[in-house]
């Protein structure tokens, strides 16, 4: 058909975003969103049918990219829907909404770029672009918090991404020494085994440190927490799903590219250290803080850490599946948080309660969501964490399982404590009269959580096969 489909997608997206800025009527915005997601769907279908075909020289969709594209399409569409609902409830100005919607479209497009790029520099460029577009999303509320969050986020992201670029340059030093000028992942994979190990390690280290800010893991996790706190909840959902996946893709692709070299054990150790640190930071804060959104954000930190531990212990399949499941679960929770805030007008756990009486359907989402992010069966996250532990036990870092487990327990405690308080504690009198929520508004959340169950426990073999092929190295 047309091998320039991705390019058409990028062009189309930018056009749509542009039109969005100009045509501010609500109906038009909706229509444009429909157009955009149709385009995205078309891209998805296209990439699925042209798996592993290089397009426009630098783009290629492997199963990993297609899988993540699917996740992005689902969560992106829901975020768009909730974004519109959010704006309607707040009565935001048409200009503000239009800017936001355009930024959303651009953001998603940039993340698509991250997924399907096969060149290390292009991944970098798309990631930075996603930072910039997400800044507009985070800035949406235009209040003190969102300004601070946006500023910190953009700045630290820029620094991080600069550090990662240094890593890319180290890699190119190493490849230059082997007279290789191509920095596509395939080329790196082919030549990396003969490269200087020291440079490779440096490159990987810098890239992990730099991209950590995008994936939201240690060491640069802090600003992600702030961003998820300052942003509207549907944006937070995007940040802890598609953007986290984007960061993961950036790290994972380079990891896979270097997996054939002798530094694999070292990389695994680094991954596990990063993961462990992330889980550790999440653990110490989750039990302490009272801000619901930040609690969810720290839980994202934890799961990102788990994903990296899974990568480091060799459970790549589990890592990929886990990040997808987490994306669904966490976006569901963040979407639900919008209701929470509408009901209580506060983020703090301390001044809320009785959620199960005030908003029963939402309470169900909260309960199931809690199960999902604490990896309790029947949630699929249980399976992926099980795989992680299994890989960890059979690997050289078996002892890590103990601290990881202890920290997960602390996190479980912190999360469950807060969620239980929200659900059951008698509501203080300041709580506003229960806002009318239609059950329909919680259906997407339930659907996402059902997906977590389904993909973990009842996934059809074809799907499993597809995900598995996403983490096998193609020659």
């Amino acid at each position: 058909m047309n091998l320039s489909m991705p390019l058409a997608f990028f062009a189309g997206s930018i056009c749509i975003a542009g039109v969005m800025m100009l045509a501010r009527q609500r109906v038009l915005q909706v229509l444009l969103f429909v157009a955009y997601f149709s385009l995205l769907g078309a891209l998805l279908v296209h990439e699925y049918s042209y798996l592993d075909v290089v397009e426009a020289e630098y783009l290629k969709a492997d199963p990993l990219a297609v899988l993540f594209l699917g996740v992005l399409a689902i969560i992106g569409a829901l975020a768009a829907y909730y974004g519109m609902a959010y704006a309607r409830h707040r009565g935001d100005s048409a200009r503000q909404v239009a800017t936001h919607n355009a930024a959303l479209v651009l953001f998603l497009t940039m993340v698509v770029g991250v997924y399907i790029s096969r060149h290390i520099g292009l991944v970098w460029a798309f990631l930075e672009a996603s930072t910039l577009t997400s800044a507009i999303l985070i800035y949406y509320n235009r209040n003190k918090h969102s300004v601070e969050a946006t500023w910190k986020y953009v700045f630290v992201c820029s620094i991080g991404i600069a550090i990662a670029f240094a890593g890319i340059l180290f890699l190119s030093i190493a490849s230059e020494a082997r007279e290789v000028h191509d920095l596509s992942f395939e080329a790196i994979r082919m030549t990396a085994p003969s490269m200087n190990v020291g440079w490779l390690k440096f490159a990987f280290l810098f890239m992990v440190a730099g991209y950590s800010v995008k994936m939201g893991v240690a060491p640069l996790f802090n600003v992600d927490i702030d961003a998820k706190d300052g942003a509207p909840s549907h944006v937070s959902a995007l940040l802890s799903s598609v953007l986290m996946i984007a960061g993961f893709v950036a790290i994972f692709r380079i990891y896979m590219a270097l997996a054939g070299t002798s530094i694999l054990p070292w990389m695994n150790a680094v991954m596990i250290i990063v993961g462990l640190m992330s889980v550790f930071f999440a653990a110490i804060y989750i039990s302490k803080i009272k801000n619901v959104k930040r609690i969810f954000a720290y839980s994202s930190l934890e799961h990102a850490g788990i994903v990296l531990i899974a990568v480091g212990s060799g459970a790549w399949f589990a890592a990929v599946l886990h990040i997808v499941l987490h994306a669904f679960a966490k976006s569901s929770l963040f979407f639900q948080y919008a209701h929470f805030y509408r009901l209580y007008q506060t983020k703090s756990v301390n001044s809320v309660g009785d959620y199960i009486k005030l908003h029963p359907a939402g309470a169900g989402v909260l309960i199931l969501g809690l199960l999902a992010i604490t990896a309790v069966p029947p949630m699929g996250t249980f399976i992926t964490e099980l795989f992680m532990f299994k890989a960890l036990f059979s690997g050289p870092h078996a002892w890590v399982a103990i601290p990881v487990f202890l920290l997960l327990t602390v996190i479980l405690w912190g999360l469950a404590k807060n969620v239980l308080n929200i659900l059951y504690r008698p509501a203080p009198s300041i709580v506003h009269a229960p806002a009318p929520f239609s059950t329909m508004e919680t259906v997407p959340q339930y659907a996402l959580l059902l997906a977590v169950v389904y993909m973990g426990f009842f996934a059809p073999p074809a799907f499993v096969q597809f995900v598995r092929s996403a983490v096998t190295i193609h020659p």
């Binding site: 440190a209 240690a218 060491p219 802090n222 302490k288 309790v376 239980l420």
Partner: protein, 633 residues
Amino acid sequence: MRISFILATMISAAMAALSIAWSVPVLVNGQAASFAYGPLVFAIDPLTAFMVVLINIGVLLGMVYGISYLRPYASKSFMEALVHAVAMVTLHGSMLAVTMMRDMVSLLIMWEIMSMSSFLLVLFEGEKARTRRVALSYFIQMHIGAFFLLLATMVLAGQTGSYTFEAMGLFYAQKPAWMLFLPLFLGFGMKAGFLPLHTWLPHAHPAAPSHVSGVMSGVMIKLGIYGILRTILFMHGDQSMLGVAILSVGIITGLYAILQAIVRNDLKRLLAYSSVENIGLLGISIGMAVLGTSIHNDVIATLGWTAVLLHMVHHMLFKVVLFQSAGNIYVATHTRNLNELGGLMRRMPKTITVFVLGALAICGLPPLNGFVSEFLMYAASIEGMKNSGAYFSIVNFFVLITLCLIGGLAIIAFTKAIGVGMLGEPRTEPARHATERSWFMRLPQQIAIGIMIVMAIVPQLMIASISAVIRSFSPNSDIVLASLMPTMTSLGIFNASLVGAVVVVLALRKIATRNAQRREGPTWGCGFTEADARLQYTSTTYADSTVQLISPVVRVHAHMHALNDADVFPHARTYTTDVVDVIEESTIQPPIAGINYALRRLAVFHTGSMRTYILYAFVFIIAIAVVTIMGVI
């Protein structure tokens, strides 16, 4: 509210009917059956079939009771009711599934679902801060228990490359058994409530609504025992040291828990500790059975396994009875504190009679079914003393002493519960105004009592019906059972005739006193004429003499202001006591306090200053570079 629960009960009943219909043939023929659903394989062997029957009876009794118990909770929201009903069915289903799984991973999944659904059930009265705290700590402890199981799974898979139970046999053949058994025991024992892993139990049971605590205590903790049994099923060779280890844990658990039960004033907590005590008894029996199997003494082994299996059913029945009766008392008086009860026998005689019968049974006294299983335990230990070398003789000697100490202490605990809480005069207004509950709220207990009586009168039939299970543990059990049957028959007849004798003597008494004058009057105050209900022995004082004997194990803190010389005209004073679980205080609380402290102290990373954030990346790179250069990673 109740509609969803009634619906849940119907679903559970259907589930029960299906699973029992499937299990009974297995129990009769001893032939295993199985079917696969996707990656899950549901299989029923005699042990599973036995558990299926036990679970179904316990859960259904609990749910029927729940229908009427939930009546006062009409104000609960739809979602709460739904969560409760769904959790109940899920608990039922997952418990059934746990017994049907044939590999560790599936078991672990079902196990977690079971923990999760019971957690939601405990949360029923989540508007109480205490309930939330307790439910949470329960959930956490179950999580830790699951980790041990996970550890065991990994150990198993690491050695044999397979997750199936059959691989356990392989493992035991290759490696020392404890390497696999220890994590398994810790995991399953956490659910069962072996010391020192019991700490969730005395909190979770009182916090849960009574129909749930009956199911949790009567049925769910048996799943822990089931896990241990399932593990042992694949053991072979000389595991006598393991047997002694289990037995010792059982002894410590039983003694400690019953001592704790004695000092508790909360009725349901007392019952919870008594559950732990019974788990201890089961542990002792398992230990003896393993010991018997190891030294190829079929008599001890058979007696031990029979005792384990029967006692599991027995304890399920009387614990359901006791918890539900306690629930009735709670509904009638809104308190579980024994010191606030009293005089209930005259006010709600049917409920309390049932409670007394349950207490008789749980103390292992004739003529009820508890006696049958305790009888078998004694028999096993006497056989153990009789038929083996000095070492095992002495071990079994300890068992014997423990059994009768536990028996005696249980009598203290339950006479306290009944005597203080239900007999005598009411101590508070709510107790004074307590009224009998409806027949529907008493029905499940009465059914259970009925089953208990049958089990007490025809124990030989009960043993015959589980002979397939016993055989799977001890292949030569048939011969032993054949010689045991006459004894059990006699025991049943004895039980029946004991009741008969009491009836006869009562009749004689009636005839003899038909002409005698009978009057009613106040209790004799020994010359003191102002006696009132507050002068009665309280729960605290009743336990005091025992506490004084064993003070280091059971610690009671008293809070009072002593009189001093300046108090010429002393004003009103209070004296309160509270009891601490020494093990909980010394093993669970310090680490938690430590973790909390550490978490508070460590929470210094999110400073709000962006500069430090960037520093982290810098430090990270340097640190990794340093450890790389040093060759650490």
